[in-house]
């Protein structure tokens, strides 16, 4: 998952990396500053040492010259004792001084060291000559020796005067270098303080940056928490949580918003599905209520007129009386009536076999035959294959009654009613045909309309049958209404359904 491209991201990892580099650089800065300061101070110390040595050195040369002068001018040879050691020591100091100034000596320093070398050589010569003179070991005449001594002493004095002249220059240079170094130390101190001040500012900035970053992150986390709480209270809450940072948190908020949208979409889908199911269920419940109400009303009607069991027992008693009085026709009629009543009472709310339904209608037909005599002839056309099919009870009786009541109401003689139960093209056709008055297309349309509606109707029987069949066969019921001059057919085309168990 990526954030929108318009934003440039600095992730927390990158921030941490930058901070790490900053800390390393700051550490290096501090280390270099300290190192620089230490180096400059070390150089300063060296210069001070060098100056002290130079001073000692100069004093040593003065001492040698004084002893030599005393030896030469006043014959104070005792002052010459150990002068060689002093000369050697001066040479050693000269070497040290030269070593101290290696790579940073000015021309004056080089000249100074060379002059000292020359002077010490001259001192050695003069001292050796004085020693010989003292011991009377000279190779030349006294006059010549005196002249030689004078020349050598003069040379040494010239040289020591040059040394003094150069010493001033060298010493001045030393002082100047020390001053420069002190200025450098001052500058370094100032720079160090500046660096410390800047470091302090940077540290403040880093702290501020982190405090701000953490505060911002905490604020954004709080926003996320509040938003999550709103979603918990109301999953359909519309809105996004907006995180302005350019880090992982922004990525997280982006993903979180997407997730909320996905969940809300899924919830909406579930709700819509649930609504459809509820509507379907309500329709079914309404239908069942309609059926129940109808049946209840029918039962209440029966109950209001006669107690069914009492009637049934009475009919059986009459049937027995008719048998004892040898009145077979009466016996048959009462038996048919009793059977019809029993069937109705027993199977009102359970599906029945189509074979039982046809047997029951035969009782009804018998009664109607005795009623109408030759006026209406009944016939049956029932496939044996259909006898085991289950359908709701009391389907055929309303249809036959409808034919008698409406179709043949004006027929005086020659009326015919055919009850047909057959399978055609994989469907079960239950049809009642008569040769009555029939109906025109408007009437047909009205009957069909009444079948589908739940309001009042003059043909309650057909509508009741249609609705119960529709409920039983999940709406797969096709009404059959055909009327010609010769024949009128009323019935239903149903799906083939063996051993249906519930109404």
């Amino acid at each position: 998952m990526r954030l929108p491209r318009s934003k440039k991201h600095i992730t927390m990892v990158q921030k941490s990396f930058i901070s790490l580099i900053a800390i390393v650089l700051l550490s290096v800065t501090i280390a270099l500053t300290l190192s620089n300061g230490k180096k400059i101070y070390h150089e300063y110390q060296e210069l001070i040492d060098s100056q002290i040595n130079l001073n000692d050195f100069s004093q040593k040369l003065d001492s040698i010259n004084s002893r030599l002068s005393l030896g030469y001018m006043y014959q104070r040879f005792d002052k010459m004792d150990g002068i060689q050691t002093e000369i050697d020591e001066a040479r050693r100091k000269n070497v040290i001084f030269r070593y101290q100034r290696t790579f940073r000596a000015s021309r004056s320093v080089v000249d100074y060291c060379s002059l000292v070398d020359t002077f010490l050589d001259q001192c050695e010569d003069l001292s050796a000559l004085l020693e010989k003179t003292k011991n009377g070991e000279t190779d030349v005449s006294d006059d010549s020796n005196t002249q030689i001594l004078l020349n050598k002493f003069k040379e040494a004095q010239y040289t020591i005067s040059y040394i003094d002249t150069n010493f001033k220059t060298v010493f001045s240079e030393e002082v100047m270098m020390i001053r420069e170094k002190e200025a450098a130390i001052e500058r370094q101190n100032l720079r160090s303080w500046c660096i410390i001040a800047v470091l302090f500012l940077i540290a403040l900035c880093i702290s501020f940056f982190y405090v701000q970053s953490i505060s911002k992150t905490a604020g954004q986390l709080k926003k996320l928490t509040v938003f999550a709480g709103k979603i918990k209270e109301n999953p359909y809450f519309q809105g996004n949580v907006a995180i302005e940072s350019n880090d992982e948190l922004a990525l997280f908020s982006f993903v979180f918003n997407e997730m909320v949208k996905t969940i809300q979409n899924q919830l909406q889908e579930i709700q819509e599905n649930s609504k459809v199911r509820d509507m379907l269920k309500n329709a079914q419940i309404e239908q069942l209520a309609t059926n129940g109400a109808l049946q209840n009303s029918r039962l209440q009607l029966l109950q209001s007129r006669i107690n069914p069991h009492f009637l049934f027992n009475t009919l059986n008693m009459i049937k027995s009386t008719a048998a004892m009085e040898k009145a077979p026709n009466t016996y048959d009629l009462i038996e048919a009536t009793a059977d019809l009543l029993e069937y109705n009472l027993a199977n009102l709310s359970v599906p029945v076999l189509l074979g039982d339904e046809t047997e029951n209608i035969k009782n009804y037909v018998l009664l109607q035959t005795r009623r109408f005599g030759e006026r209406i002839a009944f016939s049956f056309d029932v496939d044996d294959d259909t006898l085991r099919i289950r359908i709701p009870a009391m389907i055929l009786q309303p249809l036959v009654e409808n034919s008698i009541t409406h179709g043949l109401k004006d027929t005086v003689n020659g009326g015919r009613i055919n009850i047909s139960v057959r399978t055609v093209n994989g469907r079960l056709n239950i049809l009642v045909k008569d040769n009555g008055c029939g109906f025109d297309s408007r009437e047909k349309e009205r009957i069909l309309q009444e079948c589908r509606n739940t309001g009042t109707s003059s043909r309650i029987g057909i509508r009741n049958v249609y609705q119960r069949l529709s409920f039983f066969f999940n709406g797969d019921v096709q009404p059959v209404l055909e009327s010609t001059a010769q024949e009128t057919t009323v019935g239903f085309s149903l799906p083939m359904q063996q051993e249906q168990t519930a109404v």
């Binding site: 650089l25 800065t29 270099l32 320093v109 080089v110 060291c113 060379s114 020359t118 940056f209």
Partner: protein, 315 residues
């Protein structure tokens, strides 16, 4: 974006800070660390006249430029008193005692000068004479003008200017300076060729301003003298301030000092003999550099040409 920009600025600041902490002024020690000064080839240049923008200042510039170009340690010494031979000898003695590798200086016939230079040579110090050679000092290099020919050139110009009828008053520096004597000889060689030309008087100024001006005034008062020749540079410089009051004489001077050039421009001077001052100093160091490498000079004389400048050439 804002955070990113701040981060970048912050990062750059830290890097700059690191550089600042690294930055340190290059110390004398660091500069000198390239090589050890104690091993340098040390040249002591003993110049008779202090740096005052005159002839010797340009010679010194050449010496110092040579030292820079050839990485040689050139140090210039001046006597407290200009042209003071005793002080010059003292400086030579000091250079010997300081064990310089070479001494560059003008020659002089002053007593003791030759001995001290010989002493330097005996101690292995190379001696280079600039501007002025020495009569009896051999085994060294001379870098400078051919002074005899320079004197001849002056004589020829005087002859041209005067129609070979000139009575000349000469102002020279010091008879101990061989170069001035050579110039005088050159001048004389031309004058002697023309019967109507003669040198009426020769005066030595000892490189002293007031004395030069006195000599000049004396020549002006001498009705016979119609031409003044200054054989050394100081003369040309010193006459200019007084010539406006007494502009009677034809003057030819030595060296292109500021005053000499002004006098030439204003037609007080007829001409100037100009030496290659800078090159004299520069070539001396260059030759020493060659000597340091090869152990010998290509020749014992390196002559730099002179030229005559007049007002026309100034334009």
């Amino acid at each position: 974006m804002k955070t990113g920009r701040y981060s970048t600025v912050f990062f750059i600041l830290i890097v700059l800070l690191s550089f600042v902490s690294c930055r340190g002024k290059q110390t004398v020690a660091a500069k000198a660390a390239d090589d050890d000064p104690f091993t340098h080839y040390r040249i002591s240049c003993i110049i008779p006249h202090k740096d005052d923008g005159s002839y010797w200042s340009f010679v010194v510039q050449g010496l110092q430029q040579g030292g820079t170009d050839f990485n040689l340690d050139v140090k210039v010494y001046y006597p407290s008193l200009n042209y003071d031979n005793e002080q010059m000898i003292d400086l030579i003695r000091m250079s010997i005692a300081a064990k310089a590798d070479a001494i560059v200086l003008p020659g002089s016939e002053y007593t003791g000068y030759q001995d001290i230079l010989q002493n330097a040579k005996d101690k292995g110090i190379t001696v280079v004479l600039i501007d002025t050679p020495m009569r009896n000092f051999t085994g060294s290099l001379y870098v400078g003008s051919d002074n005899f020919n320079a004197g001849k050139l002056i004589g020829q110009k005087v002859a041209e200017l005067s129609g070979k009828k000139a009575v000349i008053g000469v102002i020279s520096g010091d008879p101990e300076y061989y170069n001035l004597e050579m110039r005088l000889e050159g001048l004389k060689s031309v004058v002697n060729q023309h019967p109507s030309m003669k040198i009426e008087e020769i005066q030595y100024d000892h490189f002293d301003y007031l004395r030069i001006q006195d000599i000049y005034k004396k020549y002006v008062q001498n009705s016979k003298i119609n031409t003044v020749i200054c054989l050394e540079g100081t003369g040309g410089m010193a006459i200019y301030p007084v010539i406006k009051q007494q502009p009677r004489l034809k003057i030819i001077a030595f060296d292109d000092s500021q005053e000499g050039l002004l006098a030439l421009k204003e037609h007080y001077y007829c001409g100037l003999i100009v030496q290659q001052k800078f090159n004299i100093g520069y070539y001396a160091i260059r030759e020493l550099n060659d000597f340091r490498k090869k152990g010998r000079f290509s020749s014992d004389r390196l002559i730099t040409p002179v030229e005559y400048k007049d007002a026309a050439s100034q334009k």
